[in-house]
């Protein structure tokens, strides 16, 4: 499966690498699959690791008023869109 854009594909590769996800490949992450909860099953530790990798790679600082507000981290598509939008803004 896929349907990932080029940017989403890069983000998926980063997710798999940074988080040591060993039973899934980057291409298997659907753009609209939940990253947290029932989908990929990421958690607050992953969010922090991912945010750090994104700041290093793209210079974009992730914020979430509340750790549980997961709009940005909802899925691969929302996360990639957020990073792309904030990259071009700077």
């Amino acid at each position: 499966m896929s349907g990932q854009t080029a940017a989403e594909q890069k983000m998926a590769e980063m997710i798999v690498e940074v988080l040591n996800l060993e039973d899934i490949t980057a291409a298997e992450i659907g753009p609209e699959d939940d990253l947290f909860g029932d989908g990929l099953g990421l958690d607050s530790i992953d969010a922090l690791e991912l945010a750090l990798a994104i700041s290093k790679e793209h210079g974009v600082q992730v914020r979430a008023e509340d750790e549980n507000t997961r709009a940005i981290f909802a899925n691969l598509r929302s996360l990639t869109a957020y990073v792309e939008a904030n990259k071009s803004a700077t």
Binding site: S44, I45, L48, K56, D66
Partner: protein, 443 residues
């Protein structure tokens, strides 16, 4: 030591600033008025599951509950199943929240920022023996893991922390924290400590580096940051500029010297590593960049038995507590941590017992055999993995586990097998688990 029959709720000047941030500040006088106003909204007695996220509102609610003669209940997380499990064992439970309806059928009371206009009451005195809060060890929510504490224990713990965590307790200091108020370490440092010293609490709970930097900007120097190794690593590695921080207090997992040096260098602050546990609170400290051994806070007494268990006691404690860590004492009374007793694990600051996690796995319908173990990977955070056999699909098993556990404790991966490779004595060896884990890898 004779215990005083009552203790105050607050020991700081009424004109000192309790909460600050975003150009706003609230002094102790207004804080007390807010506490009494909120207490008036509560039923008499009972158990209040305190879910408030805003640190000031949590503080108001926490004190309001105590003033009302009720008990705060601090759940390890706000998952609906966890809340209902906890509520089941309590008489007259209700929820306190600060917005965002909790997913639960329990009655709830909202705590809000509306400033109470009533005159400041006198500082109330609380019965020392009053049950003030119940917290839970993070790995489980069974009745056995409930940790009840009296006001006497909380109050005197705060007095001890004032002496041992801050060098000049009289000096006003701004405080930002990345840990939740509901966690015992967060409760002690960001809720109880401000009741007995001139701390000005920033009400947010920033987690990501940019949020932490902004929260620190909101308050005046000198600043104290209360955090964890997990968050501090992210801060040190980020390229975010931080305002001057005087002191960083870290707990939940021991720091390495390397990380401590990096954090001190990047953030320009002195870092104090704190050892403690939910049952007791903060117990010892070290400046880990310069000190390897732990310096216990003098009110605590330690006793070791022949099985290397350490029991800790102090005049203010309701009862002695057996520690889950192995302590090795030096002549000087300082100690090192040399491991964990039993099957305790620490995942990003959340503690759990592998045995209890495995029992939970086995309790799931359609799981006939299974075991949770530490994932054999070189990563910065210890992770858990699990194997099981049975008819339940892995997504069913995960859905079930998720209802009971903090997400960081969920096994990753969860490997389904026809049969677990138990040896002749029925044991799953670490080697067998490691090779299962490795053969499951796709990359």
């Amino acid at each position: 030591m004779r215990k005083a029959p009552t203790l105050p709720l607050l020991d700081r000047p009424l004109d000192s600033v309790v909460m600050t941030g975003n150009g706003q500040s609230i002094d102790a006088r207004q804080f007390l008025a807010d506490v009494f106003h909120f207490a008036g909204l509560l039923p008499r007695g009972g158990y209040a599951i305190n879910l408030a996220k805003d640190r000031y509102l949590f503080l108001v609610a926490f004190c309001g509950v105590i003033v009302r003669g009720a008990c705060n209940v601090l759940p390890p997380n706000a998952q609906s199943r966890v809340l209902s499990d906890i509520a089941e064992g309590l008489a007259a439970p209700y929820l306190i929240h600060d917005g965002g309806e909790p997913a639960s059928d329990l009655p709830s009371v909202r705590v809000s920022r509306a400033k109470a206009s009533s005159a400041c009451p006198e500082i109330p005195r609380i019965e020392s023996s009053q049950l003030a809060c119940i917290s839970y060890t993070s790995g489980s929510t069974g009745a056995s893991s409930a940790i009840p504490k009296s006001w006497n224990m909380l109050w005197n713990g705060a007095i001890i922390n004032r002496q041992f965590l801050l060098d000049e307790p009289e000096r006003p200091v701004g405080l930002v924290a990345t840990v939740p108020s509901q966690h015992m370490y967060g409760l002690e440092t960001t809720i109880l400590l401000p009741l007995v010293t001139d701390l000005r609490v920033q009400p947010g709970r920033p987690v990501y580096p940019i949020e932490v930097a902004e929260a620190l900007q909101e308050i005046a120097a000198p600043r104290v940051l209360v955090s964890t190794p997990l968050h501090l690593r992210a801060l040190a590695e980020s390229r975010v500029p931080f305002p001057a921080i005087e002191r960083i207090i870290s707990a939940t997992a021991p720091m390495t010297t390397e990380l401590a040096l990096e954090v001190e260098q990047q953030l320009g602050a002195r870092l104090i590593d704190v050892f403690g546990c939910s049952e007791v609170g903060c117990i010892a400290r070290r400046e880990v960049a310069r000190q390897g051994d732990w310096r216990p806070f003098t009110p605590f007494r330690f006793q070791q038995d022949e099985n290397s268990f350490t029991t800790i006691d102090a005049d203010h404690m309701d009862e002695p507590v057996r520690l889950q860590d192995k302590l090795e004492f030096e002549e000087s009374g300082r100690f090192s941590l040399t491991g964990r007793l039993g099957d305790q694990v620490n995942v990003g600051g959340k503690r759990a017992s592998l045995g209890e996690l495995s029992r939970l796995l086995l309790s799931i319908p359609g799981v006939s055999d299974g075991q949770v173990f530490e994932a054999p990977i070189e990563s910065r955070v210890q992770r858990l993995a699990a194997v099981y056999s049975g008819t339940a699909s892995s997504s069913e098993v995960l859905r079930h586990l998720r209802q009971h556990l903090d997400p960081v404790l969920l096994p990753r991966p969860l490997i389904q097998l026809d049969q677990l490779p138990r040896n002749e004595t029925g044991k799953l060896t670490r080697d067998a688990l490691v090779s299962l884990y490795q053969s499951n890898r796709k990359t």
